[in-house]
């Protein structure tokens, strides 16, 4: 018998550490080759670590949310035959990229990383870089030896008393303590998960449970990003209503006379094309502001981030070079990217590099929002809900399809006048959609 050491792989971008976001195995589990052992995250990409061998997990290091240095041994797997533990001295001096025996199976990003030329041989990427895969539910804690019928649940008297008072049958509570002992924490978790549902109490009872949820993985990235944006960028949010009647009519017609192979159009590609037009006149809106260096980089390419909700949280896939895509191409790309993001298969580069962002909650869009700028960008366009509203045309009320745009700008570099001008330009383009298609 020998041991195979599994180290945190170099996940690329020259990062020295990565955050552990998922454990798929526990000590004592038997694993097969290629079975996913864990997932780590850098930036917004999650990398799964597959098992290079078949064997039994005998050691596990790190908790979900821990930031672990590349090369740290995170697992030991006992295998039949020779392992790599004997090589310890050799691999001790750093997790060499040229250590194929160790890295081959766990260098998932090799094929994707431009910076991985150092790799001596092309290593087959056994793991895929996935964009924030829907985080698997954390594995339930190992439960102790199953209780024989009629055996009482194992819990100290104080836990039994609390359970009794809360009306909880301890037989239903999984114990995570030694020998399956039910701890106070287990009871807390159970109470939270039940929402007190199993209580036989009469009437409403206050639920004093507090559940601690570790902010890890994508959620942590989002939190950091939002905090950064809101703390550094003085937002100015400007809301304008847009009469979408004409655009909607056009859109219906275009969808009605759809040629095969052409995607169905939503409002989004119209807005994207309108933005391209408006940006051409106000390039300062399509920029990244490096406030530390004091430089605003205005981009020729309009790379539009589309904020998308996925099961594990908010991600922003990016439609690159919208200025070089026609409306159908934009639509196609939006559909492809949002699917990829939802399935967790978006590539890392598809999730970065935006220069301006659209935030849309569709039917949940509300009437006004205050979008948070995707730092270091300087503008974000928020799409509110489209609805038929009465409009005074000067003589009477007429039903019009109205939609608000709530847009935020970095007020350090964009004055209110410019912000308003940009939105007014968008309004003009979208209210007279033919203008979107006028070549200049």
């Amino acid at each position: 018998m020998a041991e195979k050491l599994i180290k945190l792989p170099d996940v690329g971008e020259g990062v020295a550490e990565a955050e552990l976001v998922e454990w798929h195995v526990n000590v004592g589990d038997l694993v097969r080759e290629d079975m996913v052992l864990a997932a780590v995250m850098t930036g917004k990409a999650t990398v799964e670590i597959p098992s290079p061998v078949e064997g039994e997990v005998i050691f596990r290091h790190g908790e979900i949310g821990d930031v672990i240095a590349t090369g740290t041994v995170i697992l030991k797997i006992r295998i039949a035959g020779e392992g790599n533990e004997g090589e310890e001295p050799e691999v001790e001096d750093g997790f060499g990229d040229e250590e194929p025996q160790v890295t081959s199976a766990i260098s998932p990003v090799a094929a994707l990383e431009k910076s991985s030329e150092k790799q001596v041989e092309p290593l087959k990427p056994k793991a895929e870089i996935v964009a924030s895969p829907p985080l698997a539910k954390p594995l339930p804690h190992p439960i102790g030896a199953p209780r024989a019928e009629g055996e009482k649940p194992l819990a100290p008297p104080a836990v039994r008393l609390r359970a009794k008072e809360a009306g909880i049958d301890l037989r239903q509570v999984p114990g995570t303590g030694p020998a399956g002992r039910i701890t106070h924490e287990d009871l807390d978790a159970f109470l939270n998960s039940q929402g007190g549902g199993t209580t036989v109490a009469t009437g409403l009872q206050p639920n004093k449970a507090v559940q601690e949820v570790k902010v890890v993985g994508l959620r942590r990235r989002i939190a950091e990003k939002m905090a950064l944006s809101k703390s550094r960028i003085p937002h100015i949010t400007y809301v304008e209503e847009i009469d979408m009647t004409a655009l909607e009519e056009l859109r219906m017609r275009m969808n009605g006379t759809q040629k095969p192979g052409r995607p169905k159009l939503t409002i989004l590609p119209f807005l994207m094309r309108a933005m391209v037009k408006a940006i051409a006149e106000q390039p300062g809106i399509n920029a990244l502001y490096d406030d530390e260096a004091g430089i605003i980089r205005q981009y020729g390419g309009v790379h539009i981030g589309i904020a998308a909700q996925t099961p594990s949280g908010l991600v922003v896939p990016v439609v690159k070079h919208a200025e070089a895509r026609d409306i159908f191409d934009c639509a196609r790309e939006v559909a492809r990217l949002s699917d990829a993001a939802k399935n967790g298969t978006a590539l890392r580069e598809e999730l970065s590099g935006s220069t301006i962002t659209i935030s849309s909650l569709g039917a949940m869009g509300g009437i006004v929002s205050t979008p948070v700028i995707n730092h270091p960008e300087v503008a974000i366009i928020g799409v509110n809900k489209l609805a038929v509203r009465p409009h005074w045309d000067g003589t009477q009320f007429v039903p019009r399809k109205m939609m608000n745009l709530s847009s935020s700008f970095d007020h350090r570099v964009i004055d209110g006048w410019d912000a308003a001008s940009f939105v007014q330009r968008l309004k003009a383009l979208m209210e007279t959609p033919a203008l979107i298609f006028v070549e200049e």
Binding site: K152, L154, G167, A179
Partner: protein
């Protein structure tokens, strides 16, 4: 006499009853307790406490006798030790007196009304108490029956004259020259050993073929050896036939049908205890029985609404601490709290010489479930503190599940081991594993180290054996 109305009425102020009443009082429940004798019940007045006093006195006396006989290894000498049993009894009565007063004080402090007299049910909500000043009727929403138990009397050896129960034995003012003890359960052995130490020639007659049938032989062997050392005759498999016609001797028949004539000045009958289910008007109620006991559920409720029963009247083990725990629970239930019986273990202690403790499952009980178990046993002969106490007899034994090392039972035999019962019970209630016990620092030098060592032994790496 004016009727009393209350929320809770407790019948019997033994350890179960008085604890129930005190707790109920603390919780603001309007409580009345009825007791026909002194508060404290059998335990305080004629059981646990007085017997321990006599056992302790007998121990000290026996040690002094050994010193006088030049049998003291520590080099202590004494001359002509003597015991004035009447004075011993007075000392013992002083203790029980203080304790019963203490209980009465606690009841008063908790706001519990004490009614002295014999209670009798009229119906499920009404009890009449014969007091010195007449009949007192008490109406209660909830009634707790805590009438306890009494020594079993043998028809062929009725109490009276030289035939005494444990109560009688605990009030003798002279040490009988020859004492016959019928029954080798814990009461018979505790008192038999004590009187042997006080100088009586003791013969113990037991119908079964072993002493202390509730404990396994490993645990009882040290006691058997001590009986031999004290010159106590133990006749096993022997049935008593009554007193001889002149009343001089106890007649018995051995398993091989040999007649035995045991000349005795006193005959102590300790063949068990029976629940007190008569004399308080049970016939007025519709209470389901469980054999000779009152049937109760996991909340100590009887088959009648509002009537609870606790303590010896509800079944085995007939132990004061079980009754107390039941009493506390019932008080809390009556006060509106949600409670049910969820104790994992009720420790049992024999104050024999040496003492025996058993908590949780014995090895045989643990195996009976078809479980794989691990057993670790540590002898006091390897314990420094036991040596310094000249108490090397005995051991601690831990029984655990083989798969997850959950401690299922802990037994021990040895001088003063009753005090270790707290650690044993706590371990089981907390759901300790062998590693928890072994991983707890036990003070050195104490006998308690034997506990950790026994756990280590079960884990396969005891340090001191």
């Amino acid at each position: 006499m004016k009727e009393i109305t209350c929320k809770l009425l407790v019948i019997g102020a033994g350890p179960g009853g008085y604890v129930c009443a005190i707790r109920a009082g603390q919780l603001g429940v309007d409580t009345v307790i009825v007791e026909m004798a002194k508060p404290g019940g059998t335990c305080l007045n004629i059981g646990c406490i007085p017997s321990k006093a006599i056992i302790h006195a007998a121990d000290d006396f026996a040690k002094t006798v050994a010193m006088a006989a030049g049998k003291n290894a520590m080099g202590i000498k004494a001359d002509n030790p003597a015991i004035d049993l009447a004075k011993t009894m007075a000392w013992k009565d002083g203790i029980t007196g203080r304790l019963t007063l203490g209980v009465a004080g606690l009841l008063k402090k908790a706001g519990v009304k004490i009614v002295v007299g014999r209670a009798k049910f009229r119906d499920g909500k009404t009890v009449a108490v014969e007091t010195e000043t007449g009949e007192q009727v008490i109406r209660a929403e909830n009634i707790v029956i805590a009438t306890g138990s009494a020594p079993v009397e043998l028809p062929i050896l009725p109490f009276g004259g030289k035939v005494v129960s444990s109560t009688g034995a605990l009030s003798l003012t002279e040490v009988p020259e020859r004492l016959a003890v019928v029954g080798a359960g814990y009461v018979g052995l505790e008192l038999g050993l004590a009187f042997a130490k006080l100088g009586a020639k003791v013969t113990i007659v037991e119908a079964l073929d072993r002493i202390l049938p509730l404990y396994d032989t490993q645990l009882t062997q040290p006691v058997a050896r001590r009986l031999v050392a004290l010159g106590v005759d133990v006749l096993l498999g022997t049935k008593v036939k009554g007193l001889s016609s002149n009343g001089e001797a106890l007649l018995a028949e051995t398993g091989s049908r040999d007649e035995r004539r045991i000349v005795a000045d006193k005959v102590l009958v300790t063949v068990g205890r029976k629940p007190v289910t008569e004399g308080w008007g049970r016939e007025e109620l519709e209470l389901d029985m469980d054999g000779r006991f009152l049937r109760i559920d996991e909340q100590c409720r009887t088959s009648m609404r509002g009537i609870y029963a606790i303590g010896d009247v509800t079944g085995e083990p007939m132990l004061a601490h079980r009754a107390m725990a039941q009493g506390e629970m019932v008080a809390e239930i009556v006060s509106g709290k949600r409670r049910s019986w969820d104790k994992r273990a009720i420790p049992a202690v024999c104050f024999t010489d040496p003492e025996i403790v058993s908590v949780g499952m014995s090895p045989d009980e643990a195996k009976a479930g078809g479980r794989e178990i691990k057993i670790g046993q540590f002898p006091f002969s390897a314990n420094g503190r036991a040596m310094t106490l000249s108490a090397e007899e005995g051991f601690v034994r831990v029984v655990a599940r083989a798969d997850n090392h959950l401690v299922l039972g802990i037994q021990g035999v040895g001088a003063g081991i009753s005090e270790l019962s707290a650690a044993f019970s706590l371990a089981i209630e907390m759901g300790a594993r062998l590693e928890d016990v072994a991983g707890t620092i036990h003070a050195h030098p104490t006998q308690s180290e034997g506990f950790a060592e026994a756990a280590l032994k079960a884990l396969g790496h005891a340090l001191h054996v």
